[in-house]
Point group: C2
Chain length 391, copies 2
């Protein structure tokens, strides 16, 4: 396949026809190179991971589900190393090109999946989202994207990172297909849906750049209208940065536990940034972990009072549109932190979040997100589809 956007992995020129007739027959998709595809090695965005692992013996469950629904797998896509990045910059394989903003970052870690969809090379693609890895690239590339409820979809055959936060979702260019994939994934119909109540997270909007908040305003207005009952409200009493601190600590510790043995055995090559994040996880004190876990319970209990049945929370997916490529770490670290402060909310709650390509900053896409109670995935998808018809 011609790949001018560097979306696909060279080591896995996969092509697997969908199984007979199904709801997704005729559609093509790509899978982030964290999903096992039988007979191919899963590379995880790192050449030393690729080199030290045998080919997969079976497809990841989600790949199997999509093939069973008739979709055709046409490739595996680039990812940040071991999913540990949010911008899509991979020092081994290069940075996929954002078709909507060629001198800007595509977002990651599901960078290649987002780019393949945004460029029209596939109809849809799957990715993982531990700390924003579907939502950020969907926002930057102008796509629909979902982080499902934690633990609702099987991650069998997916290279995990931090089990308490790992999820896998998908990207699509339109809300109809976005929902249709959900029907296959959740094995049930996606009905039209409108929540009773919309909470617009004032602290999340305050965390965004002014032009980003302004670029989302028209869409927020349309959402409010569609729902009827809406209110602006601060959702984090502690501050979103404090929440991110706790989430990063727990994710960091778990990610280190996932990869520590392999790192110690193989001394693998990583871009410096990824090593630094691992080192952060490796050197956390048990006391800091305990503090984070205690805070986590409090955060979930607090949010359960806001995110009641038939309530969605509206927030910017990312605090800005795609940043420029090739910035120094001093700049990107701060940008990463700011993305994390919004992305951590769904992560801490285990709640589903969808991002809709409804924002615009100087012609560059920016996602608007809806976050629902745990288990409301189908309702989010149903609302997104319904909204797309009236907008």
């Amino acid at each position: 396949m011609d790949d001018p956007y560097n979306a696909f992995c060279d080591h896995a020129a996969v092509y697997i026809d969908g199984a007979g007739e199904g709801p997704l027959t005729g559609l093509t998709f790509a899978a982030k190179d964290l999903f096992d595809v039988a007979y191919y090695r899963t590379g995880g965005g790192n050449p030393d991971w690729l080199m030290t692992h045998p080919p997969a013996v079976r497809h990841a469950t989600m790949v199997e589900t999509l093939l069973g629904a008739g979709a055709t797998l046409v490739g595996k896509t680039h990812t940040d190393e071991l999913s540990r990045g949010i911008f899509g910059e991979n020092p081994h394989y290069g940075t996929p090109v954002n078709p909507r903003a060629e001198n800007r970052l595509p977002g990651g870690s599901s960078s290649g999946s987002a780019v393949a969809v945004a460029a029209g090379m596939v109809d849809f693609a799957i990715g993982t989202d531990t700390g924003g890895s579907v939502r950020a690239p969907a926002s930057f590339c102008g796509l629909y994207g979902i982080r499902p409820t934690h633990d609702r979809l099987s991650l069998d055959g997916v290279l995990g990172q931090a089990p308490s936060f790992d999820t896998a979702g998908w990207f699509a260019r339109d809300a109809d297909l976005f929902a249709q994939i959900g029907a296959a994934m959740f094995d049930g119909d996606i009905d039209d849906y409108t929540p009773d109540h919309l909470v617009i997270a004032s602290d999340a909007f305050a965390a965004a750049d002014d032009d980003a908040a302004a670029g989302l305003k028209p869409a927020v207005g349309r959402l409010s209208e569609a729902v009827g009952a809406s209110e602006w409200r601060q959702i984090s009493p502690d501050g979103l940065d404090v929440w991110l601190g706790h989430q990063s600590v727990m994710q960091g510790r778990e990610a280190w536990q996932t990869f520590a043995d392999w790192i110690d055995q193989n001394n693998p090559r990583f871009g410096y940034e990824v090593s630094e994040i691992f080192h952060f996880g490796a050197t956390l004190s048990d006391q800091r972990i305990a503090e984070a876990k205690e805070a986590w319970s409090r955060i979930v209990a607090h949010m359960d009072t806001i995110l009641t049945a038939s309530t969605f929370i509206c927030l910017p997916t990312t605090p800005f549109a795609a940043p420029l490529r090739g910035q120094p770490r001093a700049a990107t670290k701060e940008l990463r932190r700011r993305i994390g402060s919004l992305a951590c909310i769904a992560g801490l709650l285990g709640a589903p979040q969808i991002t809709l390509p409804l924002g615009d900053v100087d012609g560059f896409p920016l996602g608007l997100s809806l976050l629902g109670p745990r288990g409301s995935d189908e309702q989010l998808l149903g609302f997104a589809r319904q909204l797309s018809r009236v907008v």
Copy 2:
């Protein structure tokens, strides 16, 4: 050149004839890929360093000196990444093979230079030594090696790491050539020399494995005889590990300062271990640095009372012979620390140290070291040559 031991860099197939007739005419040498060679890029053992730097415009001063003395440069050799390793394991270019122990490590960071000499591919080779990078591979590969007095030889055109500790030295298979290179480098004759007094560092020998200490014993006996006046004595009142702690802190901070901007701009790929060492340097507190510097002054003052004129200190170069290849980081970290606890002494003092291939552990080479007062480089070389005639 046929390179079965993986000593040489592929990116610099250098061949530069020596300049006319000189003391080293007819001899071939290799240079660690930290030394600039005009028109070639200096790679420093890291592909991203190589990629982000232009070709050198002139030879490093030491290369120029050797070419001027008539020696012919036949290649650039592998190094640990940016000289930040002691075993010679390079995750990008592989580990050079120790000709004296093929399933064991060659030692580093001047790994390729030591291997090229030990394998007889060149007559001699140059390397750098910040924290043991000439001495360790010389010990493991059964060679003569020198860390000169700090600041005696020009490091112009050498990719530095930690200026307070950086030196550059050389490897040879026999003591005559070892001294002859010194004559060219120091631009003067190397006379026979015998020190008045030999201090055998009891704490350094206690830090070695039992079989290593035993494997050096015959050579220590011959040295004592050659000198006449010798005594066993503990040289570090604080413990050599404490000295290493201070030295590592200062080296770590300086190395981070050397490379921080480049790392921040380029997010380069490193083996995890190297990133971890950089991260250590990046996160040291100013207070810890101040403590180390204060201790450093005390250590130098203390050692100046022991290492008086015409005294040499005798110690194991490394606490063991070459370790096995491919061990996990948990094992190699401890081995690295133990090597450092001996190597840090010369580093802290800025004093010259030579290692002589006089030890044997189950058939594997082990170096015995002599450390002299600052500026006694020629005397060390003269003594080594004289000793080789009587042994």
